[in-house]
């Protein structure tokens, strides 16, 4: 299959998936206890029956069910995710405002978790059976069982409150008036703790996988051949084992990266990071269902987009992947 037709196929699938999520959202609004109009209005409309009546007419909630569904899905496809009465703005604007911060956070967390995970996994595999290997393996086991938000809180406690090394709150120093490089440096300092704690769990996952994969590949025949022809240990490890061991790790990483967006809700809540996760948390308390469902849809869209991107990158890097399917 050529690259273009693959991409087209993936895009069609992506649109179908998003349509299905829009339908799911529609049913969820109707599953919420109470009148859908009141649900859409959130807290704002709770008191005023006339206002609810207006909403009902405006959103077509007096129409038959299938027409309501059609209207809703059509609106979503035209990027109309409804209005947040709580925040006094269209949901899509709220999300667009917050999205860059979330992308910065999740992409940093992804890069950190993948690079550190692979590096530590390689290190552990090279020292298999020794003390440093069991130390790294135990560490991975611990990170794997640590609640994300708790790791974030403890990081704030240690690195921000006790040691005072890094800021534990917000996206940049408020009212600092930094610009250019100084601002980038300031944001970077704010980014370290959230990105590290968000990436911690996946770092453990990738480390365990890399270690297992390295050990598995090192048993294979071509490695024995390389050893037999007298290549040095490090060269074999780098050029023969690592290159082959990385493929399953990177494939899995691409598929799982989307889950980072879910975790971002927790990290952004702890660090008051102004992204869509924090927006979702704020909307939970306010019962602002339009915004909650909007963030849900957009985060699913991000996951799908990311999966398509990684798929394309793999097909370019490793032609075997396209040939197999």
């Amino acid at each position: 299959m050529s690259l273009i037709s693959t991409i087209l196929g993936r895009l069609v699938k992506a649109v179908i998936t998003l349509l299905a999520i829009a339908v799911l959202n529609f049913f969820l609004i109707h599953a919420a206890p109470g009148d859908p109009a009141a649900v859409l209005a959130g807290e704002a409309g709770a008191a005023d029956p006339l206002f609810i009546e207006q909403l009902r007419a405006r959103f077509g909630l007096d129409q038959p069910f299938h027409i309501q569904l059609w209207t809703y899905v059509k609106n979503v496809m035209m990027l109309d995710l409804g209005y947040s009465f709580r925040q006094g703005a269209p949901v899509i604007e709220l999300i667009a405002d917050r999205l860059p911060a979330t992308l910065l956070l999740t992409l940093s967390a992804f890069v950190i978790s993948l690079s550190l995970g692979i590096a530590l996994g390689v290190a552990a595999a090279a020292r298999v059976g020794r003390v440093s290997d069991s130390l790294l393996t135990t560490l991975a086991l611990l990170f794997y069982a640590t609640p994300l938000y708790w790791a974030a809180l403890m990081a704030v406690l240690v690195f921000s409150v006790q040691l005072g090394w890094l800021p534990g709150f917000g996206y940049e120093t408020v009212g600092s008036g930094y610009s250019g490089l100084a601002r980038a440096w300031d944001i970077l300092q704010h980014l370290i703790l959230p990105a590290m704690t968000l990436g911690l769990f996946f770092m453990a996952v990738y480390m365990r996988m890399t270690r297992a994969s390295m050990l598995e590949v090192s048993q294979m025949d071509f490695v024995k051949t390389a050893r037999a022809k007298g290549l040095s240990g490090p060269v074999i490890r780098r050029r023969h084992i690592l290159r082959n061991a990385l493929l399953p790790v990177v494939t899995l990483a691409g598929l799982q990266a989307g889950q980072l967006i879910g975790g971002a809700v927790l990290t952004e809540t702890v660090f008051a990071w102004p992204g869509i996760g924090r927006l979702m948390f704020e909307s939970l308390g306010a019962r602002d269902y339009n915004t909650i469902l909007g963030v849900f849809l957009v985060s699913a869209a991000m996951v799908i987009l990311f999966n398509i991107l990684t798929d394309i990158v793999y097909r370019i890097v490793d032609p075997r992947i396209g040939a197999k399917t």
Partner: protein
């Protein structure tokens, strides 16, 4: 070697089992150890740990005993973890089994459905479900089950697909057994061990998910849970570290124990794989 011997040759798994039994005992005995329940205000607020007799882990912002909260919180973690995993198995096992056994359109449809749920960021879906259905023990358990079943379906499908070509299944066909009967009494029993391994890891993930939901304020408001304790203490982390610290340790220990047990079970079920691992 017997199953238990293989399991217990993994030191981590034995440690995990001991830890889990301890947590289960604490959860079962909670009403005996702290009959007053976790909500009662028993001392002045912000009591520092290890300073007052009878309150080893201090008190929270409202003067409630942190130890009592931990002991009672174990109940909801284990309960939600266990029940949501059973529910996820009830969705995933039949779906995967039918898809793998019948193939064709059934397989295609079931796998598209599974793929859809795997694409959606699962924690975000759990948040949405609990927020819309209102946080109760039931809705939380249901939401966790709904986001956890897809890997089960995939695993069972793969197992069934490889098992259905085996000779004993063909023999059952020749003996005239119905498809349903073959699937339920011949194929599935042979797929039980990987399902058990996966289930033990799923309980761990479910406990993490439950605590994360409670942390965000989506816990059942009538039930004390570890995630809720951390969430409620989040804003006072600078002055009262112990309020978030100890519940987190409790979650960590429980989840770690289950992961260790899962690995031990995996080793015990697949003795031939053990050698290749180190």
């Amino acid at each position: 070697m017997t199953f238990w011997k293989r399991f217990s040759s993994n030191r981590g798994a034995v440690i995990g089992l001991i830890l889990l039994i301890a947590v289960i005992l604490i959860a079962l005995l909670a009403p005996v150890i702290y009959p007053g329940g976790p909500w009662k205000m028993v001392q002045r607020p912000f009591l520092v740990p290890f300073t007052t007799d009878g309150f080893p882990l201090g008190t929270d912002t409202l003067g409630r005993d942190v130890t009592a909260g931990l002991v009672h919180g174990a109940r909801v973690s284990l309960l939600v973890g266990l029940v949501s995993t059973l529910m996820a198995l009830l969705i995933g096992v039949p779906l995967g089994a039918l898809a793998g056994f019948y193939g064709g359109y059934v397989d295609e449809g079931a796998m598209r459905f599974t793929e859809f749920f795997q694409t959606i960021p699962n924690f975000a879906l759990a948040i949405v479900l609990v927020a819309i259905l209102q946080p109760t023990l039931g809705s939380i358990t249901l939401a966790i089950a709904i986001v956890s079943w897809p890997p089960v379906a995939r695993l069972v499908r793969a197992e069934v697909m490889s098992l259905k070509r085996r000779e004993f299944v063909e023999a059952a066909h020749l003996a005239g057994l119905s498809n349903m009967r073959i699937l339920v009494s011949e194929v599935l029993p042979n797929a039980v061990s990987p399902i058990i391994v996966m289930a033990s890891l799923m309980v761990a993930t479910a406990i993490l998910l439950e605590s994360s939901l409670s942390f965000l304020g989506l816990g059942d408001p009538n039930i004390m849970s570890w995630g809720y304790m951390i969430g409620a203490a989040r804003t006072v982390i600078r002055s009262a570290w112990w309020l978030s610290f100890f519940p987190g340790v409790a979650i960590l220990i429980t989840v770690l124990a289950l992961n260790l047990i899962g690995e031990g079970l995996n080793d015990a079920f697949n003795p031939h794989l053990r050698k290749g691992r180190t």
